[in-house]
């Protein structure tokens, strides 16, 4: 047993982190969020590096790596508050890989992997990211356990509290979309793992920002980070973050290597990461004091994205209930 990245996986994460540190700076992210636009140049660059196709198999033009590697990239893109359709596209590609017909896979996986097309994924009647501009949308119906694929969905955008992404709400419409032959559940599970990985990155980033702030900010003649009340808050942030990280990579590993455990592992990850995302970003605002509540400080972007990510595909309450049924043999 080795619960740690391989040297290659470490290298992928390190490279991603370095790249995003220079290309997805807080100033750039603020600019994009305030303008309501994605950085197309950066998306093209990531596409050239093969990010959107990392976990797509080689036969369809992808990198043929696994969900652990993809989760690593998503953790770093969460850390950098990356704008653009990266998360949406890889969730969509995962859904088509899991449940698409051979024609649907041929039509879309190569283009998604190359970043020529962008995708979106979500549940009918719920908030979905990037469905307005996507070239292809996969929409799941939890009740029936089925999915449909919609080319050029063009679902009108909807304002949310999170300006770092474009959201829509695709209503269920039996008259549109191509049916997909596969089961929706494994696509939902994979998507839950991927969004959890982004949440882990968000948690890590705001924890880093908070530590830097409380070491620097002085009151009563000493750094506020020397007060136990603040220290214990930070310790709690770390516990949430590390718990979310452990469950998320366990689930990503299950997606690659132990599919029988994926449903439970994905629910674990999404429950844990949703709770962590909300608690840790909320705590970061508190630890920043009045500054943390201002538009000017960057903490709120992470708080807002974490809220949308946590609600997407159900938060901890939903997944906890689901876990109690998964653990119940009688169902």
């Amino acid at each position: 047993m080795r619960f740690d990245f391989t040297e290659d996986q470490h290298e992928i994460k390190r490279t991603a982190k370095d790249l995003l540190a220079s290309r997805s700076t807080p100033d750039k992210q603020r600019e994009a969020a305030e303008a309501g636009e994605y950085d197309q140049q950066l998306w093209r660059e990531l596409a050239e590096l093969g990010w959107p196709g990392v976990a797509v198999d080689e036969q369809h033009g992808g990198g043929g790596l696994g969900y652990v590697e993809l989760a690593g990239l998503l953790e770093e893109s969460g850390y950098a508050l990356l704008n653009g359709p990266f998360l949406s596209s890889v969730m969509c590609a995962a859904a088509i890989t899991e449940a698409g017909s051979p024609e649907q896979q041929r039509a879309w996986l190569g283009r998604l992997a190359a970043g020529e097309a962008t995708g979106a994924f979500g549940i009918a009647g719920e908030i979905v990211a990037d469905a307005a501009a996507a070239d292809v949308l996969v929409i799941a119906d939890r009740e029936s356990g089925t999915m449909k694929l919609l080319p050029d969905p063009g679902i009108p955008a909807l304002g949310t509290i999170d300006p770092t992404r474009r959201y829509s709400k695709p209503e269920p419409d039996p008259s549109t979309g191509e049916p997909m032959p596969g089961d929706a559940q494994s696509a939902l599970d994979l998507a839950a793992v991927l969004v959890s990985a982004e949440l882990v990155g968000i948690c890590r980033r705001v924890l880093d920002m908070t530590l830097e702030y409380v070491k620097d900010r002085r009151q009563f003649g000493r750094p506020v980070g020397s007060f136990q009340a603040v220290q214990h808050r930070c310790a709690q942030m770390l516990l949430h973050t590390e718990g979310a990280r452990a469950t998320t990579y366990f689930a990503a590993w299950a997606a690659d290597a132990d599919r029988d455990r994926l449903p439970e592992a994905a629910a674990l990850a999404k429950s844990s990461a949703s709770k962590a995302g909300i608690e840790v970003t909320g705590s970061a605002i508190q630890a920043h004091g009045g500054i943390g509540f201002t538009w000017e400080a960057d903490v709120h972007w992470f708080y807002k994205r974490a809220q949308l990510d946590a609600a997407f595909l159900g938060g901890s309450s939903f997944h906890n209930q689901r876990l109690s049924t998964l653990l119940t043999p009688s169902g």
């Binding site: 619960f3 000493r222 718990g243 452990a246 906890n320 109690s324 653990l327």
Partner: protein, 378 residues
């Protein structure tokens, strides 16, 4: 990343499982401490004779040279088999490894074998009324007198003192030196008049712990472990071993309690209540998180020679979850769980100690903040 056991680890686990199946001592008796102790001592002898006495010890001292992962598997399987901890758990986990790290050849020769066979049981004389979380504040004095040290002071929370032959004792040998530097570490013979033991009855009504009143006890100089003034560093070796394998045992026990509560809620239909379902799901998330963090911590030690942040986090998460679970059981099962003899009533009371013993949650948070997150002390 590979979260499956290797073939070697599976072989180790299966061999152990089979052995536990054939040698399980059955349900531990409840109540009378002497009976419980005898049961655990016999169990340790069975383990010892079967070659499972201390898997993490080197072969030359009677262990199996087990890897960290195998040692974790041992404690997981011990918990899974519903078998009790061996009587001399403090000797096996704390005294033995500390003596191996600091002891002279004569000391290793003299002390290690009887620890393994449970012929000599050990207790830990660290905490004092005025030195709890602030361990380096110990006041117990040791004064040199010829070849002996004469020791006077008081110790507290001394588990199993009444059954112990030896005590890992931290005492102040140099009152002039700074707080951490004036301490030395002794192996004290408990069988002397100068050491009086008084049981401390805890909120469960049991007396797992004791107070020690030491009035001019004599310890030969050859029973000092490490050098004069090394006491703090030797004590740290003991403390670093404190949470090693035991965490896996406790984690499995938590899993068993949760499964019991879930099974009960399934059979009586309470799980259909979404509030109950959600709360049980939350306990499942916490328990699995604990298991995963514990394994990740082991991988980190195996890869990099030091634990990641997990070490300080797991004990905190375990104690909090154990308390929450007992409280949840009472809230699901109602006041019946508060009646005398109910096992949840016992868990409810006993779990309150979890966030205090072996490092309070507050101290663990301080450790996380200062040593893991690098926040300033003052």
């Amino acid at each position: 990343m590979d979260l499956t056991f290797s073939a070697e680890e599976i072989e180790f686990r299966d061999e152990l499982r089979n052995w536990f199946e054939a040698n399980n001592p059955g349900e531990e008796p409840r109540g009378d401490e002497d009976t419980v102790f005898e049961f655990r001592r016999n169990w340790q002898r069975t383990l010892f004779e079967g070659g499972w006495g201390a898997v993490h010890w080197p072969r030359e001292y009677g262990g199996r040279d087990a890897s960290l992962m195998q040692s974790a598997i041992f404690f997981e399987e011990l918990g899974r088999a519903n078998a009790p901890l061996p009587a001399n758990v403090l000797g096996l986990l704390l005294a033995g490894p500390t003596i191996m790290a600091w002891g002279s050849d004569e000391q290793k020769e003299r002390y290690l074998a009887p620890i393994l066979s449970a012929d000599e049981v050990w207790c830990q004389g660290f905490s004092e009324p005025e030195a709890g979380s602030d361990l380096a504040a110990v006041k117990t004095r040791a004064v040199r007198d010829g070849d002996d040290w004469v020791v006077t002071g008081q110790k507290v929370w001394t588990s199993g003192a009444q059954y112990s032959k030896w005590c890992m004792l931290v005492a102040r040998t140099d009152p002039e030196a700074s707080k951490h530097k004036g301490l030395s570490y002794f192996l004290m013979d408990m069988e002397q008049e100068a050491v009086q033991i008084r049981p401390l009855v805890q909120i469960t009504g049991e007396a797992e712990f004791n107070e020690l009143f030491i009035e001019e006890a004599r310890i030969p100089n050859e029973n000092m472990l490490g050098g004069e003034g090394d006491g703090w560093n030797v004590a740290l070796t003991t403390l670093m071993n404190e949470r090693s394998g035991l965490g896996f045992f406790l984690q499995v026990r938590l899993r068993q309690l949760l499964d019991r509560l879930t099974g009960e809620a399934q059979s009586n239909g309470r799980i259909k209540d979404p509030v109950v379902a959600e709360a049980l799901g939350d306990m499942h998330v916490r328990t699995e998180t604990l298991r995963l963090l514990a394994y990740r911590g082991l991988s980190s030690i195996e890869q990099y020679g030091q634990p990641g942040p997990e070490g300080s986090l797991t004990k905190w998460l375990w104690s909090e979850t154990n308390q929450m679970l007992a409280q949840l059981a009472v809230s699901i099962r109602g006041a019946d769980s508060l009646t005398e003899g109910d096992s949840w009533a016992y868990e409810l009371l006993r779990s309150r100690g979890n966030s205090i013993e072996g490092g309070t949650t507050e101290i663990l948070k301080n450790i996380v903040a200062e040593r893991v997150l690098g926040l300033p002390r003052k």
